[in-house]
């Protein structure tokens, strides 16, 4: 295997990474070992004045370590030895008898940046592809090749902690500002800037400004650790060991020199590398990478390029979708019932943009240009040029069908019509259309500005062209599209609603709902089912549940309490201030009126509550796989993580089932089904898997 080219010209040695048979450089152990050999040779060569590291790959320096190397780690001692070897090899760079320079024009992440940190000088470009950072924490590990130590010495303690704990990825300019690199030049100037930079180094070593961090870093590191730990606990609830391990490591090595600290780093790394959390996060990473490559259909079909989009409906979803597409500079035309709705929608969109300006993610000028691309109408004028229209009106089949027939009158025959329905069948919605092949479901999640998932739902007659176009457009908007089958509730809601139903049922049977919420959020869900129901809106939740009950019958029967809360007490949830909880601003307290609906009190044990809430989802998920609602268990898990916030450290819903053991899941479901009824009857897929000793995931 060839990992790089090597040449020497006028005393300048150039080690140019160019991994064979791939478009990406990665720092696998094989690459490291051949680097090791080359570094040893270099020491013997006479007349080398400087060594520079470059890359021959477009837009990439080194994307990181080989994740499959890490995924394969099972034994702590073996992991320790490997990472020590890596540290030893990279450390060699810093002991070379001549200056070293790394030229970064593309992604330089994780292990790649740890290599760069070993060099004397770092030169980067302003190219948008230049990305610098140590994102290891996202995979449940920490930088193990000296990154924690060497970064700290460049930026000071608190910045290093901030960057590593959040796994932040910086552009060239920001990296220069924080002192991660020595210079950041425009990409087009790189050639001669590099030359003059080298000349300068060779003339006299460039003196560097010594950065020791803030005053707090120097005099009160304890305080820095205290606040960092507090923030980590707030964010992770202690569920992610890597963040805590990083803090511990920094604390432990605070007064040690680099060499002694490296050993601690390697120990900490090896402990993390074999945790199930890390394996789970890596699994999700692979699923995400696989999803990025998905086009929506197997056949090779090119998507239609979409530049003018209309959004029908000015509610929360409608304006969220308008925001999303205006952000990627599409012309977006809103169709509303009244012009005042346009005012409201634009106001809410502006609020989201203001956040972007505040965080320096967009400039005021950019936002103004994006806003200028939004137009509005109460009629169907201006639709003849619209290439894709997204309907986001009330969940009412007749109203939607009527709208589509209007849209078909004014839109081009080839233009796509998409529905943001969360529960109605795409095939049925398109029944009366003249061109059902151009119709598809694009189900966005609320709040659209933040939720990464889009369910793409082809109907029976939807054309491949329509599918690939919807998938490509969602990706262009920075979202993760997952193609799912056309069943009631599609994928995410179909699995989620039984969980909410079951939780309400436990409340109906006498359990305190705030206790259920607490246990479920301890399990790792971002919020408990009752808080979620209030957030979504009890009206919306009820309507979706109703559609599901109508389709799936007894299995999804709406609990009598929800019926009472919504119909008799007419509670709507957070938006009206009252639901299962009373909401005052960000605070909430239990709504005793709702609690009074249940007379008897009964307490379940923790395991029973979790099993009833989560295993009912596992069972439904298995049914979805059986019915091929989604391509595979990995995508299903990604959908649940992105669509519901199912805890990533658990690797996904079905990964969780794997961790319990399918056999044990089946046993629990069977016993629940005897106590609670048929809704827990294990899916055939689960029974078969249990019999054959299979798991949803092949390994890890």
């Amino acid at each position: 295997m060839k990992a790089f080219d090597f040449s020497i010209e006028e005393g300048i040695a150039n080690l140019c990474f160019d991994l064979e048979y791939t478009s990406v450089n990665i720092l696998s152990f094989d690459v490291l070992r051949s680097l090791d050999k080359k570094l040893d040779e270099l020491k013997e060569i006479e007349g080398v004045k400087l060594l520079k590291f470059t890359s021959a790959k477009e837009g990439i320096f080194i994307a990181g370590a080989d994740i499959s190397d890490i995924q394969g780690l099972k034994d702590e001692q073996r992991a320790y030895e490997l990472v020590r070897e890596g540290q030893r090899i990279l450390s060699k760079i810093s002991t070379l008898p001549f200056p070293t320079l790394v030229v970064i024009n593309g992604a330089c992440l994780g292990g790649g940046f740890e290599l760069a940190l070993c060099c004397d000088y770092r030169l980067v470009t302003q190219s948008p592809k230049t990305k610098i950072g140590l994102p290891e924490v996202n995979l449940g590990i920490l930088p193990g090749f000296g990154g924690t130590q060497r970064l700290k010495r460049l930026t000071g303690l608190s910045k290093a902690l901030e960057l590593i704990l959040a796994g932040k990825i910086l552009n060239g300019k920001k990296a220069e500002k924080l002192g991660l690199v020595d210079a950041c030049v425009p990409q087009g100037y790189l050639e001669f800037k590099e030359k003059s930079f080298i000349e300068q180094i060779l003339k006299s070593p460039v003196r560097k400004k010594k950065r020791v961090g803030s005053l707090l870093d120097q005099y009160l590191p304890k305080l820095v650790f205290y606040y960092a730990r507090k923030k980590v606990m707030q964010k992770t609830k202690g569920k992610y060991p890597a963040a805590l391990a990083i803090l511990d490591l920094f604390e432990k090595t605070q007064d040690k020199d680099v060499n002694a600290s490296l050993e601690d780093e390697a120990r900490a790394f090896s402990k993390l590398s074999i945790t199930q959390t890390s394996k789970n996060l890596i699994g999700l990473f692979y699923s995400a990478e696989a999803l990025k490559k998905e086009k929506g259909v197997k056949r090779k079909v090119n998507p239609i390029s979409i530049n003018i989009i209309s959004v029908v409906g000015g509610g929360v979803m409608g304006s969220g979708i308008v925001f999303l597409f205006s952000k990627i500079d599409k012309l977006v035309r809103m169709k509303l019932r009244r012009y005042t709705q346009a005012g409201e929608a634009i106001n809410s969109i502006l609020k989201v943009y203001k956040g972007f300006i505040k965080r320096h993610r967009l400039t005021k000028n950019e936002v103004e240009n994006k806003l200028a691309h939004i137009s509005y109408t109460t009629g169907f004028n201006g639709f003849s040029q619209v290439e894709l229209s997204i309907e986001a009106i009330v969940e009412n089949q007749e109203a939607k069908q009527e709208l589509y027939s209007e849209l078909e009158k004014v839109m081009d025959n080839k233009a796509i019509i998409a529905s943001n329905t969360s529960s109605l069948s795409i095939s049925i919605l398109s029944e009366k259309m003249r061109h059902p092949e151009r119709f598809i479901g694009m189900h966005f999640f609320n709040p659209v500005a933040r939720m990464p998932l889009v369910e793409i739902i082809p109907g029976k007659k939807t054309s491949d062209k329509t599918i690939v176009t919807a998938v490509a457009l969602a990706k262009e908007a920075g979202r993760t599209p997952i193609v799912v089958g056309d069943c009631a509730g599609f994928l995410v809601n179909r699995i989620l609603i039984p969980y909410i139903n079951e939780s309400i049922r436990m409340f109906e049977e006498g359990e305190d709902f705030e206790k259920i919420d607490k246990l479920i959020s301890d399990f790792g869900m971002p919020m408990g089912p009752f808080v979620l129901a209030d957030e979504v809106g009890l009206d919306v939740g009820y309507k979706v549940s109703k559609v599901l009950e109508d389709t799936y019958g007894q299995r999804m029967k709406i609990s009598g309490i929800l019926d009472k809360v919504y119909h008799q007490m007419q509670l709507l949830g957070k938006k009206a201030g009252k639901g299962f909880y009373l909401h005052k601003g960000q605070k909430r307290e239990v709504n005793e009126e709702v609690k009074a609906l249940v007379f008897s009190k009964r307490s379940f044990d923790e395991k029973e509550i979790i099993d009833r809430a989560i295993l009912i989802m596992v069972n439904e998920a298995a049914l979805c796989l059986e019915e091929s609602i989604v391509a595979n268990a990995q995508y299903l898990d990604m959908a649940m993580v992105m669509g519901t916030g199912f805890p990533p450290f658990r690797g996904g819903l079905l990964k969780y089932a794997d961790s319990l053991g399918i056999q044990s899941v089946v046993v629990s479901l069977q016993s629940l089904s005897q106590q609670q009824g048929e809704r827990f009857e294990p899916a055939k897929l689960l029974l078969d898997m249990a019999k054959n000793g299979e798991t949803f995931y092949k390994e890890g």
């Binding site: 012309l331 634009i346 106001n347 240009n369 201006g382």
Partner: protein, 427 residues
């Protein structure tokens, strides 16, 4: 003209009083809004347009060549060329006639023309002395030199030059536009009362037309203050009366003057746009145009009497194309000032004025006031200078259609001593 130019459709924003509802929209934003709306409604793809031409008077410093900024913000692709035209108050007509000339010359087929003005956003400027001080500070080398320069500062240097006032001043004669109107009042002996009566009629006609929904098919509602919606011109005073008008003090000649804020056009913000192509092209594309531009003329005259522009330009136009006032079914004459419109009415019907000034043996003709500014004019609705020309074209055509008539005259006076007249037809 060799061939008529088809005006496929036109659209405008409501006209807002300056410093009011649309003040948050800089000129390019107003322009982009209306241009995007029109292009989407007309249905010809952005990429199919050859050029965008916009008229604008107080061209914003932050958006030089505002037409290009408008084009890009509205959604035109990078390849679409665009330029800005300036013929003072006729800028919004100049954009249309420039496009017409280009079409006839074979220099492009499909054009987007319009006019835009944000009089709310005309900047204040530092005076000469302050500007010099800044320059001196800039070149001062040492701190002490800078400090010394600063000691030269006097508070009166901060008195701003109001860009808007500067823009409304004729640079050659040094007269404010309102003062040129006072000269017309003297030339023709037009009293304050006559002017106020004319102003009152303008408001009344506009009020009735708004109530009848006449402007609905030319106005695109626009969101302002981030959540409110403006659907109609807000300068029109419902229930305006002579008493209220009579209370206002003359603005330009405080002692003897007759021209007040009440009988002058208002300063305002708005944008308008039209889509243009040759009649042949429109036929080939199977389009049914709103109407046609068949002839136009610009004329020059004494800058001190710039208000007479309509008489001069119309005379030139009639002469050249052998037209008569009786051939005209509808007249839209911009009301820069009530007195200016009245003076033109007098001049049109005067044989002696025709002989003396218009190089004609006989008068242009007596204007039938029942076909003049039938839905009110700039005194009531406002005069966003760069936009008005386009508005007159759109409104004339839409009103001709409403009346089932064929031929209209849109004419306006131009600061600096010019006039513009356009013949518009619907069949």
């Amino acid at each position: 003209m060799k061939e008529r130019i088809a005006i496929i459709d036109g659209l405008r924003t409501p006209i807002a009083k300056a410093g009011g509802k649309l003040k948050e929209y800089q000129a390019e934003k107003l322009g982009a809004f209306i241009v995007q709306e029109l292009v989407l409604r007309v249905g010809i793809a952005f990429k199919d347009y050859d050029e965008v031409i916009m008229g604008n008077v107080s061209q914003p410093g932050h958006a030089a060549n505002v037409a290009r900024v408008i084009a890009l913000q509205a959604g035109f692709p990078d390849k679409t060329i665009a330029y800005t035209v300036h013929r003072n108050c006729a800028s919004g007509m100049e954009s249309i006639t420039s496009a017409a000339s280009k079409i006839l010359a074979g220099d492009g087929e499909i054009f987007l023309s319009g006019g835009v003005e944000s009089m709310s956003n005309v900047p204040l400027m530092y005076g000469e002395q302050m500007t010099e001080l800044f320059a001196a500070l800039f070149i001062a080398k040492s701190i002490s030199e800078k400090l010394y320069t600063l000691t030269q500062f006097r508070p009166r240097y901060l008195k701003p030059i109001i860009g808007l006032m500067q823009g409304l001043k004729d640079p050659v004669s040094g007269l404010m536009m309102g003062s040129t109107a006072e000269i017309l009042a003297q030339d023709f002996g037009i009293s304050r009362k006559e002017q106020d009566e004319f102003a009152l009629m303008s408001h009344k006609k506009a009020e009735d037309s708004i109530k009848a929904g006449v402007f609905k098919d030319e106005i695109a509602p626009i969101v302002y203050a981030h959540s409110k919606v403006m659907e109609a011109d807000d300068g029109v005073r419902f229930g305006q009366n002579m008493e209220a008008l009579g209370k206002l003090r003359p603005f330009f000649d405080r002692k003897n003057g007759t021209v007040t804020a009440g009988n002058s056009s208002q300063i305002s913000d708005a944008a308008a746009a039209v889509v243009l192509m040759s009649e042949k092209k429109a036929k080939a594309m199977g389009l049914e145009p709103l109407g046609y531009l068949s002839h136009f003329a610009y004329a020059g005259l004494d800058p001190k009497r710039m208000g007479m522009g309509p008489a001069f330009a119309t005379a030139k136009l009639f002469q050249k194309h052998r037209l008569h006032l009786k051939d005209i079914d509808l007249i839209e004459m911009n009301e820069a000032f009530a007195v200016q419109a009245l003076a033109n009415i007098r001049a049109f019907e005067s044989d002696s004025y025709a002989k003396e000034h218009l190089n004609r043996t006989k008068a242009l003709g007596c204007i039938d006031e029942s076909i003049l500014n039938v839905n009110g004019g700039a005194v009531a609705m406002g005069h966003p200078v760069g936009m008005t020309g386009t508005r007159l074209v759109i409104h004339t055509l839409k009103e001709l259609r409403r009346r089932g008539k064929n031929r209209g005259l849109a004419t306006l006076c131009i600061g600096g001593g010019q006039g513009a007249s356009l013949i518009l037809e619907v069949e």
